[in-house]
């Protein structure tokens, strides 16, 4: 199947991806060096750009430390991910196992909501938060952010619940379980990895979120994404610092979930039938 003409496809793709490779490489090298020249050649290699880890960062007239910002971000993303997880697990269970009026309507509504981008509903969200007195607070923004992910999250959770065999549920019900007990004692332990998946998914999206944070938490509470944006918006780009901080920003969830994944793999997947 390999022919000399196959070289052609390598050529085209290489040409197409060169600018991107230059961008990525320049980004990495910039994070670890004082200056770069000719695009990708480092000068003054070192970790001096990472000194924001132990030094305060100027923010307007005040100063802040990266750890404070990080704490806010973790709080926000965790809250948002947690909300998504709880609501999706409850909603997914109901959609998967119960029969009620308007179920099909509700399912298609989820789809419609997902197709509707949350970005254009920002102004309405702004006023909802304003009247709930949650504007400019982390929980408020986390809630607003969570609502964007819930439609797809419910679909995801429904898939996990669908995989649990009916027999287990019937057996528990014969033994006198209520719906809530059934949900918390039978289902939740069975879909452990699924819960983690929904949470991780909600967490990552909240962590990467920019526009909600930028609009609803302006200047008063700092988060990683707004911190980086504020630095882009300055007159002269502090490129080295920005590259280093972006790397830091991206690495944290990665490290977090590599650790989490190991812990998750240790959890024995229950030996239930049909799982």
């Amino acid at each position: 199947m390999r022919s000399p003409r196959a070289v052609f496809s390598y050529l085209i793709l290489s040409a197409l991806s060169t600018p991107f490779l230059i961008m990525y490489v320049a980004f990495f090298i910039q994070a670890f060096s004082e200056r770069i020249s000719l695009g990708i050649l480092p000068e003054g290699v070192g970790i001096s750009n990472f000194n924001f880890l132990w030094r305060p960062i100027p923010w307007g007239l005040e100063r802040t430390t990266v750890w404070e910002v990080l704490r806010n971000t973790v709080l926000y993303a965790g809250l948002s991910g947690g909300t998504v997880t709880v609501i999706c697990l409850l909603g997914g269970y109901a959609l998967s196992r119960m029969d009620f009026k308007g179920k099909t309507f509700f399912l298609s509504l989820q789809l419609l909501l997902h197709a509707f981008p949350g970005h254009i509903l920002l102004i309405a969200t702004f006023f909802l938060l304003l009247y709930m007195k949650l504007l400019y607070t982390i929980p408020g923004v986390a809630l607003a952010r969570a609502s964007i992910e819930i439609p797809l999250g419910i679909m995801m959770a429904k898939g996990f619940f669908d995989a649990v065999p009916w027999d287990l549920e019937r057996a528990a019900m014969v033994d006198g379980c209520s719906r809530i007990e059934l949900w918390s004692k039978i289902f939740l332990p069975m879909i452990g990895p699924g819960i983690a998946a929904v949470f991780i998914w909600g967490f990552i999206f909240a962590w990467h979120e920019f526009i909600y944070v930028y609009t609803f938490l302006p200047g008063t509470v700092r988060l990683m994404s707004t911190l980086i944006q504020a630095m882009i918006a300055t007159e002269t780009l502090p490129v080295g610092l920005l590259a280093a901080m972006s790397l830091f920003y991206m690495a944290i969830p990665l490290i977090f979930f590599v650790i989490l994944q190991k812990a998750l793999l240790k959890v024995p997947v229950l030996g239930g039938k049909g799982l």
Partner: protein, 264 residues
Amino acid sequence: MSFTSMGRTLDWEFVGVENFRKLFAGTDPIVPRILENTVIYVAGALPVTIGVGLLVSLLSMRMAKTAGLFFRTVFFIPRVVPPVVWGFLWAWSWEGTRYGVFNQVLEAFGISPVYWLTRYSMLIVVMANGFLGVSLAMLIFTSAIAGIPVDYTRAAEVDGASYWQLSRHIIVPMLRWPIAVMTMWHLMSFINSYVYILLITGGGPYYSTSVWSLYGYTSAFKEYLYGYGSSLMMILVIVNAILFFLAWRIFGVKRLIAPTRLEA
């Protein structure tokens, strides 16, 4: 809210269709410009997404496994990078001073710096968003190509078809559905997306990269014309609803679910 003149004071003052008249009667001189920008932006980014996405998946599927994976990773990175970082990467790489990445590359060849971000601002915005779309489109197309039964391609090869003929007459026709779905999907997402434009150029210089959705956002949150911003967004909501029901009628519900699963 779109029928009120709500401003900085947050009063609900009902003004009827005043906002919409301002929009359509030409009282706001920026609107035609915004409309033009939106059309250019969507019409530019959509072919980039679909075309490059198709090209990358077609070519990379043909290569040795690791090489194909490498190129696909290069084009998939935009989707896993946070928006702020992607915005920074573009704003920095195409910076007009001699510190921008591509100006440094040019300097190596002895060419003086080009003011990318001011001169070709629209092009850069289109590319930044287009290549973001490429990552998803490429993923969908690649898995669709991998799903084509080998019999078809083998038969064509036995008959002596070149890879170009193979793609043209067999693979692309078989990808009709994914291409249609992706076109619709990205059409909607480009109409609504403004986050990356906000990050890279902020709509400037002088509204040259402001699209409809960004204008709605800035009028509400920068100029504090909440009522007017809501009207702008209201129009977008209507456009979206129309597009969504078109997609619904054409593709049916089940086919709309498929790409979302892959995205997650």
